[in-house]
Every structure is written in structure tokens, then in C-alpha cells.
């Protein structure tokens, strides 16, 4: 069973994160101070959930020290400092993902799952990604369904490759905005839905139901279920 390290001084938040971790079938290990978190980080944790304003200092500033000490887990910063500038700073200082508080449990779950998977996934360097009838050719940047070419815009291609990289898992709108559009703020309207909707219609017209809605959470690229 994977263990996930949670460095968080607010017990309620720590409990909520721990609950999500258990929901993913992993074991949570909670540390309440930065020093304790730093000491524990060298153990074998595939994912570390790190708060920023901790007793003992800023978690983001400690990332470099964790890495230097030999921590190999992917780091998800979970912080009340949630402005775009804070997030960009966190990512630049070595965080693998950055989720602002208050967060929705589904969002945290999706991100933890993505990180857990990223830790075990082989690098996607093969040219062809095939999900049943759906084929994505990375070099040519083309999408085929049942051998028929589906015309997608460059953005739609980025969208489908991000989906493919997280195949089988819930992907939230916020994740799509951050990873596909590189935007770190909440635009308020569901602009992302329109784009996913278009891509989805194109695929469905060609005969693939690869993109599905996960109610209240986001989308799932789940061709395995239908394959």
C-alpha cells in the first residue's frame, strides 16, 4: 500500500486530506510542523502533500531542502496562498502541482490520482497512443477514429493528449485550465466545457465516446470501459 505524507498544521484540513488519501487506497502519514515534515520526507512516499504557512516556515521554500535531502515523492502544495502569482511561484520552486485552499475534495482526489499515476507511468515517448478505436499520433499531431481522420485544432490536440495521459481518471476543469491553457485563475464561467464539448462531439461523430462527464467533478477519458 502506498503511503502519502501530509504536512499540514490545521487538523481539520489534515483529516480531510487523510480521508481522500484513504479513499484512494493509500495510507496517510500526517506531520504538523515543517521540521517533522522535512525529516519524514526522505522516506518512501510517492506523493507529499505540503502546506505553505507552517510552524517553522514556508513549505515551498523547503522543497529544495527536501529534494537535497533525498525526497523523491511528487509534491502537491496545498495552500491558502492561492493567487496565480503564488501558484506560479510554487511551481517554479519545484512543486509538481499546486492546489489553493479552500479546495473541493473531488479536485484534491483528481490531483492526487494524477500524481500517483505520474509516479508509476512510463514516459509517453511512443509515437502512437491507441485507446481502442481511437488513435493519437504524437509526431504528426493527428487523431484517428476507426482509421478515419478527425480534424482537431492545435488546442484540441493538446486537450486530447492531456486526457490520454490521464486516461481512466477524473480530470477537473481546473486541471485542464492549468495544464492545457497554462492559466492559473478561475475564470468563473465554464469556458473549458465548451472546448471539451466540441472535441467530444467531433469524436462522437466519428464514433468514439472516449470523453465522458464525471458528474460534479469533471471529465473522464475512459475508452477502456468501452474497448
Amino acid at each position: 500500500m502506498d503511503r502519502i505524507l501530509i504536512v499540514e498544521d490545521d487538523p481539520e484540513t489534515a483529516a480531510a486530506v487523510a480521508a481522500e488519501v484513504r479513499g484512494l487506497g493509500c495510507m496517510p502519514v500526517v506531520m504538523e510542523t515543517l521540521a517533522a515534515g522535512l525529516a519524514a520526507s526522505t522516506e518512501d512516499f510517492p506523493v507529499i502533500v505540503l502546506d505553505r504557512m507552517l510552524p517553522g516556515g514556508d513549505g515551498v521554500d523547503a522543497i529544495a531542502r527536501m529534494r537535497a535531502a533525498g525526497a523523491s515523492g511528487l509534491i502537491l502544495v496545498l495552500s491558502a496562498l492561492g493567487r496565480a502569482a503564488n501558484r506560479v511561484e510554487g511551481l517554479e520552486k519545484g512543486a509538481d502541482d499546486y492546489l489553493p485552499k479552500p479546495f473541493e475534495p473531488e479536485e484534491l482526489r483528481a490531483r492526487l490520482r494524477a500524481l500517483l499515476r505520474r509516479g508509476t507511468m512510463q514516459v509517453l515517448d511512443n509515437d502512437l497512443l491507441a485507446f481502442g478505436a481511437l488513435e493519437i499520433r504524437m509526431k504528426a499531431r493527428t487523431v484517428h477514429v476507426n482509421r478515419a481522420h478527425v480534424a482537431v485544432s492545435p488546442k484540441e490536440f493538446e486537450l486530447i493528449t492531456y486526457f490520454a495521459r490521464n486516461a481512466g481518471q477524473v480530470v477537473t476543469r481546473m486541471q485542464l485550465l492549468e495544464n492545457v491553457w497554462n492559466l492559473h485563475f478561475d475564470p468563473g464561467t465554464n469556458v473549458v466545457d465548451v472546448h471539451v464539448g466540441r472535441l467530444r462531439r467531433k469524436l462522437e461523430d466519428a464514433g468514439s465516446t472516449a470523453i465522458q462527464t464525471a458528474r460534479g467533478e469533471g471529465y473522464v477519458f475512459a475508452p477502456l470501459a468501452q474497448a
Partner: protein, 455 residues
């Protein structure tokens, strides 16, 4: 930022000029008094001389009348110093003796004695004379006058001396004034440069070197104390918003986590979640606005950003939304326009503007976004043919929490923070907002300062 005129020390120069003028005027007045005194004394001396002369002639006349006078005048004429004018005529105007060949036309004889009273000053042959003209008993006109030329020469040289001294004083005053002004300007210039740097956003700017122990040093000390205070306040504002963020987010976060545990009422839970999201967004917008305002003018955190690329990206994100609403969407972007900025903030500004336009426009309206370069900078222009801003809102549209009543009536959701955030982000980038007059719809122009790359 203030326009930089060449530093003109008008006030200092005026003061120096005034002082120089005052000193020159006082000196000249003192010399003028002296001049008048010298003039009066010399005139008195001339009169005493004339009186003595007249007394001499009077004594001669007492002894032997005209004959004695004639001899004396003849004798004196022969001796001829040039400094005196003597003339004795008979009753027919024939010259009996004298330095002159004829009676000067402008002189009229008065009285008949040798009294020095009624002495006259007259000018003849280019110089001034002091003398008396009499008609002695029996009709003998007599003229005795002394030249005032030596006196005039003395006075003239005195005047020349005064003029020269006045000129020297004026020049010295001007030179001292210029030097003083230059010195003062150098000191004030330092403080002006500091103020400009601070106004441009560099709150940590200070004057290097030690303070001098004069009034300028005191001014610098005071300016520094003021800047320290401003800097501390600014830092406190940053800290406050971070603290608020932390202290409020933690309870909000707990609410959110507990919301997830509500079971059996999925619709209510979903509604609550939506409300929470909207409350968090208001809170985030306020934080974004105050942070952008606090950072305004400080170049910190800004990097070169390809404005054209960001505009195109955010447009790509929103265009389908507009198309789905059957708006006519057009984008015109001049490529490779660079600004010094924060990509996420710029994207947020664009997102707010496009979101507003799409929200307020109805099917068939057009939405146009242009980015082009002008001499002054890059202009980002968004124009739609929607309802536009009500006239009553033109001035306050960029304030926080300002919304049009008709939107509330129409049920369009919002908190009146979108344009306030646009304005704060623009100000953070030193960009200027303009609302041109249009007949229909909403048009906003944002003038971004060009990125000047160091050579």
C-alpha cells in the same frame, strides 16, 4: 510619471537676483548721498571763491571806480587762466576790458553792486559757469564768472566710478546667485530624482551617502522617514491580505470539506457548493485587486510577456463561447508585441473583458478584439455592440461593487468586481484605460507601455 523639464532653479535665481539687486541698490544709494554731498560742498567752495573775488573787485571799485576795475581785469585777462570770465563794458557796449569779445547774449545783468547774491549759473562754450552780471552805476555792464568745469570733471569721474562699481556689483551678484542656485539645485535635484523613483514604484529607493548637517540634510532625513513609513504601510498591506487569505481560507476550507460529507441531499449540497465557489471567487477577486493595486508601479514580479500571444490564447479560449451564443467574433492581432507584465494577470484581465462582453451581448451582436501598436505603446481594444455602459455608470464603472441596476433586474449575475479588477491589473502594468464615446455598445481601449529592451 512627471515630465522631466530641465531643472530650472527659478526660485533660487529669483532670490539671488533680488539679493544682488538689493545690495547694489543700497550701495548705489549710499554712493549717491556721498555724491550729493561732494557736489554741494564743491558748489559752496565755488561760491566762496566767487564771493572773495567780488569782494576784491568791490574794494578796487571803492578806490578808483571803473579805472581800477578796468586795470584789474586787464591784468587778470593777460594772466589768463581760462578758469574765469571777466568783462567790463561802457554804457554803449564797448568792451573796456575782459576775457570776452562781446557780452554773452543769454546773460542779463541784474543789480548794481558787488554782492554775491543772485549769482547765476550759465552754460557757454560747452562748460558751466557761476558768476554775477551787474550794471555798475553810470551804465557799465560788468560780468564776473568762474568756470565750474573742474567741479563738473570731478563729479563726472565720481559718476563713472559709481557706474563701474554698480556694474561690478551686479555681475558679482549674478555670479553668486548662479553659484548658489547651482548648489541648491544639485541638492534639490537629488531629492527630486528620489521622489521620481519612488513615484515610479521603487519604494525601497533611498539617497546614498551620509546626510549633511544643513537644512537639505534635514529635508533628506525627513523624506527618508516618510518613505520608511510608506514602505512599512505597503508591506503591512501585503501582510494583511496574506493573513486574511490564510485566516479566512482555513474556515472556508473546513466548510467545504464538511459540505462533502452531507449525504442524502445532493441538490442542496450542489447548490451550497456553487454558492461557496461564488463567495470564494469574490474573495479572490478582492485579494487580486488589492494585491494588484499594492504592487502598482513596482516593476517587481513583471517579466517580458508576448502580449500578442496571450491575447490570442485567451481569445481562443473564449471564442467558442461567443460563437455558441451566435456573436460575430473578430480578432485582429499584430504579432510579437511585447510588454513587461505578468502573463496570468493579463490573461485574467482579458478573461474578465471577454466574459463580460459575451455575458451582456445577445445573439447577432458583434464582438471585436484588436491589438495594434501606436507611437505611444500597444493598444488593446475591445468593442461590442451590446447594451454598453449606462451613462450613469461611465465614471464609476471601474470601482468595486458597482453594477448597473438593469443587470440586477435582468438577472445577470455578477459582483461588480470584473472591471475593478481590469482597472487594477491595467494600473499594475502602467497601462491606461480609455472609454471612447460610442453610439452603441461597449468599447474599451487599454494603452500598454511598450517594453523597452536594454541595448
Amino acid at each position: 510619471m512627471t515630465q522631466h523639464r530641465p531643472l530650472a532653479a527659478r526660485a533660487t535665481l529669483r532670490l539671488a537676483a533680488l539679493m544682488a539687486l538689493a545690495i547694489a541698490a543700497l550701495s548705489l544709494a549710499a554712493m549717491g548721498l556721498q555724491y550729493r554731498l561732494v557736489q554741494a560742498r564743491m558748489m559752496q567752495a565755488s561760491q566762496v571763491l566767487l564771493t572773495a573775488d567780488l569782494n576784491g573787485f568791490a574794494a578796487l571799485y571803492e578806490q578808483r571806480r571803473i579805472i581800477a576795475l578796468r586795470q584789474a581785469i586787464d591784468y587778470r585777462t593777460t594772466a589768463g587762466t581760462g578758469g574765469e570770465m571777466l568783462l567790463l563794458q561802457d554804457r554803449n557796449g564797448v568792451v573796456l576790458a575782459g576775457t570776452e569779445a562781446a557780452w554773452p547774449a543769454e546773460i542779463i545783468a541784474q543789480g548794481d553792486g558787488f554782492s554775491p547774491d543772485q549769482a547765476i549759473e550759465f552754460t557757454t562754450g560747452g562748460s558751466r559757469w557761476l558768476g554775477v552780471a551787474r550794471t555798475l552805476p553810470g551804465g557799465f555792464p560788468l560780468l564776473i564768472a568762474h568756470s565750474l568745469a573742474p567741479l563738473d570733471a570731478t563729479l563726472a569721474s565720481l559718476r563713472r566710478g559709481m557706474m563701474a562699481l554698480g556694474a561690478v556689483l551686479a555681475l558679482a551678484g549674478a555670479a553668486v546667485g548662479w553659484l548658489a542656485a547651482r548648489g541648491v539645485m544639485a541638492r534639490i535635484g537629488r531629492i527630486n530624482t528620489l521622489a521620481d523613483r519612488v513615484a515610479a514604484g521603487d519604494l525601497a529607493a533611498r539617497l546614498p551617502g551620509p546626510r549633511s548637517a544643513d537644512e537639505f540634510g534635514l529635508l533628506e532625513t525627513h523624506v527618508h522617514a516618510m518613505l520608511d513609513r510608506i514602505e512599512n504601510l505597503n508591506r503591512a498591506t501585503h501582510r494583511l491580505s496574506d493573513t486574511i487569505a490564510h485566516e479566512l481560507r482555513t474556515p472556508l476550507n473546513r466548510i467545504m470539506q464538511k459540505l462533502a460529507r452531507i449525504e442524502g441531499q445532493p441538490d442542496l449540497a450542489a447548490e451550497l457548493k456553487t454558492e461557496m465557489r461564488s463567495a470564494i471567487r469574490v474573495f479572490d477577486s478582492l485579494l487580486d485587486i488589492s494585491r494588484a493595486e499594492a504592487d502598482q508601479g513596482s516593476g517587481g514580479g513583471l517579466v517580458p510577456v508576448d502580449l500578442s500571444a496571450v491575447v490570442a490564447e485567451v481569445w481562443d479560449l473564449y471564442e467558442p463561447l461567443g460563437e455558441d451564443k451566435a456573436l460575430h467574433c473578430t480578432l485582429t492581432v499584430v504579432p510579437d508585441l511585447q510588454v513587461l507584465g505578468d502573463r496570468n494577470l493579463i490573461a485574467q484581465l482579458l478573461s474578465n473583458l471577454l466574459d463580460n462582453a459575451i455575458k451582456y451581448c445577445a445573439a447577432g451582436d458583434s464582438l471585436q478584439l484588436d491589438l495594434y501598436a501606436t507611437g505611444d505603446g500597444h493598444v488593446l481594444r475591445i468593442a461590442d455592440t451590446g447594451p454598453g455602459l449606462p451613462d450613469s455608470l461611465k465614471l464609476s464603472a471601474f470601482d468595486r461593487f458597482v453594477r448597473a441596476d438593469r443587470d440586477k433586474d435582468r438577472g445577470i449575475k455578477g459582483h461588480g468586481l470584473g472591471l475593478a479588477l481590469v482597472s487594477a491589473i491595467a494600473a499594475r502594468h502602467g497601462a491606461k484605460l480609455q472609454l471612447p464615446m460610442v453610439e452603441k455598445g461597449f468599447v474599451l481601449e487599454i494603452l500598454w507601455p511598450k517594453l523597452v529592451l536594454d541595448p
